[in-house]
């Protein structure tokens, strides 16, 4: 099953750091997300897109995880050569995870 079936996501950017939320549609699925969507899975899935660290913050009360990826945005929106300089589309890449 794809993560997209259980969760939705939004990406934000601050400088060269991206944050990607993973939010359960139903709170009862949160524990499954917490077990399956680990820092290691995210790092492996996004591969070379991540040049820095990955930190995960858990928000069980909101049924959400928040991933913070440093050095991921080609220097940030103000200087990146990327077509998606904000990294806005990273949320869609995360939802393609097999869980």
């Amino acid at each position: 099953m794809k993560l997209r079936e259980l969760a939705h996501s939004r990406t934000g950017d601050k400088g060269n750091t991206s944050n990607i939320s993973v939010i359960a549609y139903r709170t009862e699925d949160y524990a499954r997300l917490e077990a399956a969507v680990t820092v290691e899975r995210v790092r492996r899935h996004l591969g070379a897109l991540i040049q820095g660290e990955v930190v995960r913050y858990a928000l069980p009360g909101l049924g959400a995880l928040n991933f913070v990826l440093t050095r991921t945005l080609g220097g940030g929106v103000t200087r990146s050569l990327a077509l998606d300089a904000h990294g806005k589309c990273l949320s869609s890449a995360i939802l393609d995870l097999d869980i």
């Binding site: 939705h8 996501s9 939004r10 913050y57 009360g61 929106v77 050569l81 990327a82 077509l83 998606d84």
Partner: protein
Amino acid sequence: MKRVRLGTGAGYSGDRIEPAVELAEAGDIRYLVFECLAERTIALAQLAKRRDPSAGFDPLLADRMAAVLPACRRNGITIITNMGAANPHAAGAAVAAVARSLGLGPLRIAIVTGDDVTEIIRARQDLTIEETGAPVSSLADSLVAANAYLGAEPIVRALKGGADVVVTGRVADPSLFLAPLVHEFGWAADDWTLMGKGTLVGHLMECAGQVSGGYFADPGYKDVPNLARLGFPLAEVAADGAATITKVAGSGGLITGATCREQLLYEVHDPARYLTPDVAADFSGVSITEAGPDQVRVDGGGGAARPGSLKVSLGYSDGYIGEGQISYAGPGALARARLGRDIVAERLRIIGLPLRELRLDLIGVDAIHGPELSAAAPEPYEVRLRVAGRTHTLKDAERIGNEVEGLYTNGPAGGGGATKMAKEVIAVQSTLIPRELVSPQVHMTEVQP
């Protein structure tokens, strides 16, 4: 318990204007807040101001004011905005000109300055750049502008002075919303729990439509009605900081627990320490409850003491970017785009272009997430080659686009729709300065009837 209603009139510089008018006319709000400054906007505005001392503020300011001021005056709504960018004084004059031309006096306009710390930064060469650890002095002459993120305090002062319109430069986005709450409820600036709750409201509201169904729709999974008439959010906040996020009845979009949770985490790192000039806000215990259709109750935000320093964005000149694109379609499109890509890469080597960085993308294939994630995807019907490079001079940047355009007559068959561009790059990094070095000022002017 006393309640205050405030609405968001814009979530970025180019945002739609009609939803702000809708809020002013039908939102029953007391404050309308326009957040229009992105990370680099202010550095670009500084450059514009250098070329023309009357420029350097939001290009849509006059249009927005002309659209909302009549309803705001009629309904007693105070406007708060950071559209002053690099030139709040000129922006204030522009607001006054609109008010005079529409006969809307008397109108008290407050101008907030003091965020421009360029000279302070130049004199304090011991500071370090947050992203790299290098000294700020390493930017030397490339530094264009330095602007500190101000907090709610000068806006509260402006509101106490009876302002009908408050125009600022760089202010932390949530502080634009926290300020009217502090003013209305008389919250103490060191009541960190209330500062955290107000900051939570501001954070949910600051991107306008992003909490009311914008940037949310995913057909079949997350359907949103009537996005072409998206309603911008309004918050009804109680004196204890609990809030209901809603929108004008009949407007498009939707406000649900899911839209609020997505926006709650937007651009957040550690949810327990969301740092602003006003507070270290704590969103980790927030509760989000659907209270009715398009009505979400938000509570449980908290906070700890504000940071001792203020964040400063450093706009600096970072060379040039040149880019060219060309499309291929139909059978063999991908192979021809790949051939075009390889030709341009070789051409850039042959002409010896001094490149600081180069990127070769196939739009429709690997431009967004790179070759690894897209490896198993089927071949698309059409592909667009994109070549982007960073150079030291504008002339070199232009040569990148020229090499892509050159694929018309020198490259693979059937290339079409070539475009090219070259631009100067004003990049942004950040540093921290002791807050005592920054002294925000409030200047009041009045448009007579």
